[in-house]
Structure formats: C-alpha cells, structure tokens
C-alpha cells in the first residue's frame, strides 16, 4: 500500500479514528495497530508477512533468553542465533543470487565448465526486509550489551517491528527509542497531530511535485541515453538524481514520521538538510541518519572506529562503507558507490578528527559555500554508480555507469537538437531553493499559518491538496527506497 494512494488515505483515517477511540485500552489499541500493520504490509505481498512474524519471533525469543542468561557463553550463543537467523534470511532473499552468480562466473573463468550454466534462482525480495531486519538486530544486540531491557510483552515487540509507518522503508527505529513510548499512557496531543498532518502533506508534496518531476523529466532521459545528452547532461542528470533520491526518501520519512505522530508515537528523524554538509562525514551525519548511525554503532565502532593508526581507520571505514553500499542492493554498482564514499570520507578525515558543527559554522561564507559545493559534487558524482544500480527504467548497471563516466571525462558535447528538460530543471531549482532557504521560511511560517486555520478550512485545504496531487500524479510512481 503506497503512501501516495487513495487506499492509504482511507486506511489511515480508519486506523486513526479507531485507534483513538480505543486508546484507553492498551492491549486492544496495540492489537489494532498490529492488525493495521499486517493489512498494510499484506498490500505488498501477503506471503511475506509470515517472514516478518518469523523474524520477530526469533528476536523476541533470543532477546528474552539473552536477558535471562547469566553466563557470557549462553548470552553469546543466543546472540549468534539471532544474527545468523536474521542475516541468513536477508542473505538468502537479497544476496544469494548476487554471490552465486559471481562465484559461478569466477569458477567458469577458472575452467569449471558446469559453473557457466548457472541460472539465478527465482527469489522475490520481500518488501522492507533490509529495514525490519536491522531494526530487530539492534534489539538483540542492545540487550546483549545490557543497554536495553526486553519488551514487556510479545505484542509490544511485534508492534515495534511491524509498526506500519516505518515497516517498509524506515526510518530504522531503535527499540530503546520506541518501546518506552509504549509504556507511557496514550495521550491525544492536538499540537503533535496537527504537526503530523502537516508533515504528511509536505512529504507527499515533495514526492509528487518535485521528486517525480525531476526523475521523469530530467534524470530518466539522461540515464537512458547519456551519450546523446553529453557531459553537461550527465552533470545535470547526476545532480538531479541526487536531489530526486533525497526528496523521494525524505518524503517517505516525512509521511512515516507524520503518520506516527498522528498516532501519538515519535519516530527518529532521517534527514537534516544534507546538502548543507561541509564534509563527507558531515554529509553522513545528515543523510539517512537512522542507517548511518546504525552502521556507526553496530559495525564501525565494534570494528575499532578510528583505531590506533590510519590503516586501521581505513580498514574499518572501508568495511563499514562497503556494507552500507551492499545494504542498498546486491550489485557491483552499490559496492563501488559504498567504496567511493569510504575513500571520500577517509581523504577528508584521515589527517585529523572531523570538524564539529560549530567549527564548520564559524568558517567564512566563501569557505562554507565552496565546501558545500565540493561535497555536493562528490556525492552527485557517486550517483552515477548508485542510480544505475536501481530498478529505474533504462539502467544498465556498471556498463551504463562507465558510459556516463566516459561521456563526462571526454567532455562529449552530445547529440545536436536535444530538447532542454525545462520542467525538470525548474523542479530542481525549486527543490534547491527550498533546501537552502533558512528553516524559518517556508517551513515554520507556513506551518504556523496552517496550525492557525480553523478545522473546516484545514479540511478544505486538504481536499484541494489531495485533488492537486492526484491530478499531478496519475502514474503514482512508487517510492524509490521500497526496492532496498
């Protein structure tokens, strides 16, 4: 069930009213949210609901056993079971064909003729598996580290795993942030609900008015035929792709956070104006924050973080970024994308700790602008590999990335008579203006005006807004991050 559909609007209104009608009864209201989450997920594929249940059951069992066990050995055994179970499922559904194909290719190159005939297995990727697997893993690891007490009931835990706003594409919520909210009595906070509604509306507007327009009118044509668009087209296409991914994914996060707020729950933020970053490490503190902090806390730090010497830092950083790339998808494009970011980060921070926010803010304007432009250019350049790995039409994986790279390096002028993607460029310009405008405007001014409107005017505005979005989004393009 996509957020940008009539189906979701009806579904959400029903969930909202019933939930608040029974919110006094803790068990009944949680059961209602779990049921709603199951219906929401079954909209993608009902079969894989069983996988969510299995994954949750495994981690509920392991988490409880780790908490109860006194011996370090037993605790470790339960943790290993959780890791093997979760990563095993993820590995099978997401990575089996990738690794098997590459092994077969390697064996074939080494002279094993039978390996050349390997046919990829027909494996369907369950929606949201990368997100809920990481969410449940953090639960057992935190209990193992004695940083978290287990959920009070299986119902609480299953609600944490399956809560529909964040189930399919995040943010990747930590149990330590979510479970305590379930213990507090449900309270209908009018201010929070109003802000939630506003957040949902802005998320949908970002998706339909900006992300989809940039994708359709600027990015798709360039990635489908880079040679025809020339070097300047590739530059615009990569910049557009970076904005498109940001707008699309942050829009999803906005709707998820807004929907949760309407139900009285808080989800963590996922983006913080990433193109204001003045270094790559700063960029990763602002981009897909629930994932980057997950990798920081559960991979980079356990590996030794910056380590005692630069080589150890390089090893730990590249390992973490490689896994970050692979998390997005099983393909060499994502591997290369992750490694590129590893190299960018290493070069930027190897010779000293990354500067703090206040240090960056104190730099002269020209320095901040130049740094931001540099970071944007590097990340946009990496989209050349990332975007060619997605399921978007016209993508040709590594071959497509290399063709774009060749077009860029040779400064190819492209084919004559290519029409200027006016609509895509206008949307890109608007997106950039909104992104770089001080936060007090338009976000806070518009939000304050929205909150001041009477209910009937809010209802009319929402109706007109829904009509405008519907008229502009006939194709109902799916959110990009569903595929990860």
């Amino acid at each position: 069930m996509a957020f940008n559909s009539t189906e979701f609007v009806c579904f959400f209104l029903l969930v909202y009213f019933v939930y608040w009608a029974i919110a006094r009864r803790r068990t009944a209201s949680f059961l209602w949210l779990v049921l709603a989450s199951c219906v929401f997920y079954a909209g993608w594929n009902a079969k894989f609901l069983l996988l969510v249940v299995a994954s949750a059951a495994l981690d509920w069992t392991c988490g409880g056993a780790i908490h109860r066990s006194e011996s370090r050995r037993a605790r470790r055994a339960w943790l290993v079971l959780s890791l093997v179970g979760n990563l095993g499922l993820l590995g099978y559904f997401k990575y089996f064909n990738f690794f098997a194909e590459n092994v077969a290719r390697g064996l074939a190159a080494a002279g094993f003729e039978g390996a050349a005939t390997f046919v990829p297995w027909e494996i369907v990727l369950p929606a949201g598996i990368s997100f809920y697997t990481f969410q449940t893993l953090s639960y057992t690891i935190d209990i193992y580290r004695r940083q978290l007490a287990p959920a009070r009931t299986p119902l609480d835990f299953f609600l944490f795993v399956s809560f529909f706003p964040q189930l399919v594409a995040g943010p990747i919520v930590r149990a330590a942030d979510f479970l305590p909210q379930l213990d507090a009595p449900a309270r209908h906070d009018e201010g929070r609900v109003a802000r939630g509604l506003y957040r949902i509306a802005t998320g949908l507007a970002k998706k339909v008015l900006l992300a989809d327009v940039i994708g359709k009118h600027l990015v798709d044509p360039v990635f489908a035929d880079p040679a025809a668009h020339g070097a300047q087209g590739v530059v615009l296409g990569c910049s557009g792709a970076l904005f498109q991914f940001y707008l699309d994914f942050s829009a999803y996060s906005d709707v998820a956070i807004g929907a949760a707020a309407c139900l009285g729950l808080e989800l963590c933020e996922n983006f913080e104006r990433p193109f204001l970053a003045q270094s790559i490490s700063d960029f990763w503190r602002r981009w897909h924050m629930s994932l980057s902090t997950w990798f920081r806390d559960y991979v980079f730090v356990p590996l030794g973080a910056r380590g005692a010497h630069r080589l150890a830092f390089l090893r730990n950083l590249m390992g973490t970024m490689l896994l970050t790339g692979l998390w997005h998808g099983a393909g060499w494009n994502y591997v290369l994308w992750g490694l590129m970011h590893g190299v960018f980060t290493f070069v930027g921070t190897a010779f000293g700790a990354p500067p703090r926010r206040d240090e960056l803010a104190a730099r002269p304007l020209w320095s901040r602008v130049a740094r931001r432009a540099g970071v944007f250019a590097l990340v946009a350049f990496s989209m050349l590999f990332f975007r060619n790995g997605t399921l978007a039409e016209g993508n040709r994986g590594i071959a497509g990335s290399l063709e774009m790279l060749r077009t860029l390096v040779t400064l190819s002028p492209g084919a004559a008579g290519q029409p200027l993607p006016v609509l895509g460029l206008v949307a890109l310009l608007v997106a950039a203006l909104v992104h770089f405008t001080p936060r007090s405007w338009p976000h806070e001014v518009v939000r304050a005006r929205w909150l001041a409107l009477p209910a009937v005017a809010q209802g009319l505005c929402l109706c007109l807004f829904a009509g405008a979005l519907g008229a502009l989004s006939y194709a109902k393009a799916p959110f990009i991050y569903f595929q990860f």
Binding site: N45, L125, A455, G467, G470
Partner: protein, 374 residues
C-alpha cells in the same frame, strides 16, 4: 486521556472529518457533471470532433482498432456511390480507450448533433478483455460501480511494475489459495477506493483546465505530437495520417505480424473457433464491457438510432466467444469483417491494427454493409 482529548473533539480530527465531507461533495459534483471525461488528452481532439458543425449519418466509436481501421472519407465515397446520394460519416474512435469512453463520446456527440442513422460500436477480442479497464476505469466508474467492484471482485491482474516485482510467479506457497485471494481482494478494493477518491482530483483538474484554456474548455489539451512534421505532411498530401508499412515505425510494428504469421497459419486462423471457457456472460467478468454496451444500446434505442457492433479482428487472433456473439446480437446487429482478406500479412500494421491497405478494404466493406441497411 481526558475528555478534551477525545479524537472526535480535537481540531485535527474535525479537519479529517471535514476533509472526508469535502471529498464526498467533490465526488458528487464530479459525477453530476462527468468531470472525469476531461482528464485525458485525447478528449481534446474528440471535443473538436463532437463540436464540428456538420451532422453525420454514420458514427464510429471504439478504440485504436477502429481509429486506425476505418477511413471515413473512403467510407463516404463508397457509400455515396452505392446509394447514389451524399453520405457523411465521422470516426470518433480514440487510442487506448475501452467501451466506457465510447459511451461517453457518443453521448457528447448526440448533445451537439442530430441523431445519426447508424452507430458502429467496436467489439472484439481486444476491446472486451476483462482486465483492460484498470488504468482508465476509475475515471469513469460510478460510486455504485465501486461498491460492486469491492463486492464482486471482477479484476484479477495488476499491471504495476512494483506489484510484479513483489509477486512470486508460478503456484508457489499459497495455502488454499489464501494469498492469491487476498491479492485479488486488495486489487479490487484499491480500484473501488480510487473511484470514490477521484472527486477532488477531477474538480481540481477541471478548474486547472479552464484556467489554462482561459475558460474555453474543461479539457486537458494535448502536447505537441512527436511526429508532428510527418503528420502535417501526410495530412497536407492526402488528408489523413497513417503509419506506412515501409516506414521505420511500420517495419518495427510489423514484426508482431510476422511473428504471429509464423505461429498461426492463414488456413488455421480462418477455421479457428473459440476454445476455452465461454465466460462472457459471467456476471463477475467482462462487467464493464457489457455494462457500457447496454448503455450504448439504450441510448441508441431512445434516439431511434440503428446500432451495429463491429468485429474488428486482430491478426489471426482468437475469434469471439459464442456468448459474446449472442450478447451483441441481443442488443443490435453484429458486423464481422471478412477475415479471408484481412488475415493476409499486408492487411495489418501490427498484430492489433490494420495497415492502410487493410483499413481501405475494411472501410469499403463497411460502406457496402451500410448500403444494405434498410
């Protein structure tokens, strides 16, 4: 939670209820004025046709099969020769549309013109497929259709890329068919909700169209056609545009004809009869095709118009189901094109559409049929 936090008393909840109320109002307005009709670019062309000053004795409605397969000028010429008087026809068929569009188009034509003597309505394998209206159905469905859709669940397929990605192929793990049943129910409920949720979209779109057209039209005007120069050249030269078999587009399109010709011989195709379930009368299937055929029949009956259903063949494809033939004959006459001529490769541009040569033959054959009508 105290009394002041009751969901129905909070401002946001009231805003949600007002939102639902405004959506219902917009749906009622949209249904009353048939605003959904102005949502598709092709209706801008139709608008010009239905507003043309001259009446017509013969009207054709249907999909691209008829749009490409019937040439009014040729029809008029042949019919005039045979009857010894002037005959004027108009082809209102549009690309990519099913029968519900035909009905609405005909209704608009009748609002602006005298009733024609005969209306030809396309039927056939391509125009009656049960899953076809998914994309456009929600624009033309009525609230009662939405309820029927949710209850009867007539549609079984989804064409979205996202669905294909997440759906397993083959039988797979499906205890008692429960997962498939869920998917089908979800699809139909989704379509039904789309029908009910279209009100605000149609109202906003109509207002935008009026604004863009400076109050002249509720129709969304189409953009510049890709083959504008070629279209202009052909129209200048011979009065109409068609893709020629020897053009690059024609050669590409004709590959499907060659493939089908290799798969089904001419003799076998001519002798073919319907194989498979004769399920056209099944109330849970082909509902839209039958519903709008009945509405067209009613419209024609009220205006004293002779109704002829036109079986436009696809290249060596499957014939009509017996129940289809019986259904159309119960509403009007059924004219079937001569497949012994049209099943030749040069008669088709692609497996679904006639070439210029095929359309010339089909148009003359229609004129000859028209001349026999009393």
């Amino acid at each position: 939670m105290d009394a002041s936090t009751s969901p129905l008393r909070s401002k946001s909840s009231l805003a949600g209820l007002w939102f639902l109320g405004f959506c219902a109002l917009a749906l009622a307005v949209s249904q009353h004025f048939e605003l959904a009709l102005c949502a598709d670019a092709r209706h801008a062309t139709l608008r010009e046709l239905v507003r043309a000053e001259r009446d017509a004795e013969v009207v054709f409605v249907g999909s691209s099969q008829t749009a490409r397969g019937v040439m009014p000028a040729l029809f008029d010429q042949r019919a005039s020769e045979l009857l010894g008087r002037d005959v004027r026809s108009v082809n209102l068929a549009t690309f990519g549309n099913a029968r519900h569009i035909s009905y609405l188009t005909l209704e608009h034509w009748l609002e602006h013109h005298a009733a024609p003597r005969v209306v030809y309505v396309e039927c056939g394998v391509l125009s009656d497929v049960p899953e076809y209206p998914h994309k456009t159905l929600t624009r033309f469905g009525q609230p009662r259709d939405a309820l029927a859709m949710a209850w009867e669940q007539p549609y079984e397929f989804v064409d979205g890329r996202e669905f294909v990605r997440f759906e397993t192929s083959g039988a797979g793990f499906d205890v008692g068919g429960i997962f498939r049943a869920w998917s089908v129910a979800q699809l139909n409920v989704d379509l039904a909700l789309d029908v009910l949720g279209r009100g605000p979209e149609d109202c906003v779109r109509t207002l935008a169209n009026f604004a863009l057209e400076r109050g002249a039209s509720p129709y969304w005007m189409p953009g510049e056609p890709a083959m504008r120069a070629e279209i202009a050249r052909q129209v200048e030269e011979r009065g109409y545009f068609r893709i020629e078999l020897d053009s690059a587009e024609g050669i590409e399109a004709h590959r499907s004809v060659e493939k089908q010709a290799a798969a089904v011989s001419y003799e076998r195709a001519l002798a073919a009869e319907w194989k498979g379930p004769d399920d056209f009368a099944d109330p849970a299937r082909f509902r839209v095709a039958r519903l709008y055929a009945e509405k067209i029949a009613r419209l024609c009956r009220e205006r004293g118009i002779r109704l002829v259903f036109l079986d436009q063949p696809n290249f060596r494809g499957r014939p009509l189901r017996p129940a289809q033939v019986a259904f159309y004959r119960s509403l009007g006459e059924l004219f079937r094109q001569d497949k012994s001529v049209l099943y030749r490769e040069e008669s088709f541009l692609d497996s679904g559409h006639l070439s210029v040569a095929g359309a010339e033959f089909a148009s003359r054959a229609l004129a000859e049929h028209f001349a026999t009508l009393k």
